[in-house]
Symmetry: C2
Subunit: 243 residues, 2 copies
DNA sequence: CGGAATGTTGATATGCCTCAACTAAAGTGG
DNA sequence: CCACTTTAGTTGAGGCATATCAACATTCCG
């Protein structure tokens, strides 16, 4: 398993230019690792964390909890992602961060990150950029959940997960991990379990993708991007994956 | 009309602590002002802008354009807002920025902003924080448009606009500008014109709010926040408005 | 004053929800 | 290793919220 420093560096280099001094400074970041069970919270809505999370292994999600108890997932994160970088400058968490399957995360003290930004402005800018790409993904989620019919929405979501897994080298040829239950897909896409089940069957019938046992299989990428109205430009990667 | 420097400073001070040196540095920012007609684009999806926008007067929005031509509004911005700060570190625009009504904006060269961040780290952090609050508003929009019935969604949106207008001193007692047509409200909330019309009438009947002639009237704030399931904590303001 | 843009209202269609029963798969303890 | 329980997914019936289409009313504005 790659050290979290390497994961973070790889992630930042997907969109930013870093010099040797930046890389060295990042490598000096202190962190403690924790492995968590499925469906365990790392940070909760209302908390004031003083560490930031880097995903090392597994899948981590952010979500809102509504007064009714209903859960709305906001984003999914895999190795190399910083699912709560924004907590650095926003004191009180407006959402929770928790695991989906078993996951290992590195916890980096905010103080170390702030010191790093003072020392290496370029690194600060790279992580700033990372949080901005995060925001671009949120924007796309607004559009996806507001303006597309359910089957398209589901296809788009799968496209994004596969594309991002490819970008960080976490996908095998034609497949990647996606350990979400249909209930959770519903909580991500604003749909009921039953509707997700039917939308999924619709997609299966196109033979462009399948999802089973927490593994997403992509058989016809070009067809799937059509079905999902997917255009990866909002992910702002420097070297778009060849798919 | 306040100079854009004052608007920006006021905005940043809503959530960040700035020293005298920071204020002075911000006041030295160069900018050119432009006044635009309603429904005019400032930056378009695909552009690579080298200036950032500060809203001086009027209402400015960000939106996606789907292949079908359908428009999805992502956010609304009023005086003091930076609707495309993220373009600083994200080269290619993944969405457009345009006016709703007649608006005046200040255009600040990216180079000047980057130089400012190098010189005054605290100012950089304040604008970073600003972009993070932006992201928090996107998250809330995901939840609003995905997990709430239409009438609640509309009430929540109106709560947010009124609350933000209050926070920057742009609201009169009991009302603020909100120059959106019902068609645009639909494109914001992922709903059709007809449904917005009916949801609006439902809200009017509660006597908690009304929207007419581009002016939002709030008659019963506490009732409206209930109807809209609105909790302002996601806006991350230091001194929550007393309403 | 006439034309365009905006909002209202009704009728009908439909996508998705809810509820419910059932199947299948995955853990768990004897 | 099997019976039991739990969790996940499938399928059907019926209902509701919202979409679509269309006609009309209203306001804005040149």
């Amino acid at each position: 398993m790659a050290a979290f420093h390497d994961l973070l560096i790889r992630k930042l280099q997907d969109h930013s230019e870093l010099g040797a001094a930046d890389l060295a400074a990042i490598r000096r970041l202190p962190a403690s690792e924790r492995t968590l069970r499925p469906n365990e919270d790392i940070v909760r809505q209302g908390d004031k964390p003083n560490v930031s999370v880097v995903v090392v292994e597994g899948t981590v999600a952010r979500y809102h909890t509504l007064p009714t108890g209903r859960r709305q997932y906001l984003s999914m994160h895999i190795a190399g992602d910083l699912p709560d970088a924004q907590a650095l400058f926003i004191e009180i968490m407006d959402h929770s961060v928790g695991t989906i399957d078993q996951a290992t995360v590195a916890l980096v003290p905010h103080s170390a990150l702030l010191a790093l930004f003072e020392e290496r402005t370029a690194t600060g800018f790279a992580i700033w950029r990372e949080t901005l790409i995060d925001a671009a993904i949120f924007r796309e989620a607004i559009t996806n959940n507001s303006a597309r019919p359910l089957r398209t929405r589901l296809a788009h979501f799968c496209c994004e997960q596969y594309y991002r897994a490819r970008a960080v080298g976490l996908a095998k040829p034609g497949s990647c991990r996606l350990p979400l239950t249909q209930t959770q897909l519903g909580e991500m896409l604003g749909a009921s379990l039953a509707s997700i089940a039917r939308a999924m069957q619709g997609l299966r019938k196109t033979r462009s993708m399948d999802l089973q046992g927490g593994e997403l299989f992509v058989n016809d990428w070009s067809r799937l991007t059509e079905l999902g109205d997917f255009n990866p430009s909002y992910l702002h990667l420097r070297k778009p994956s060849r798919l």
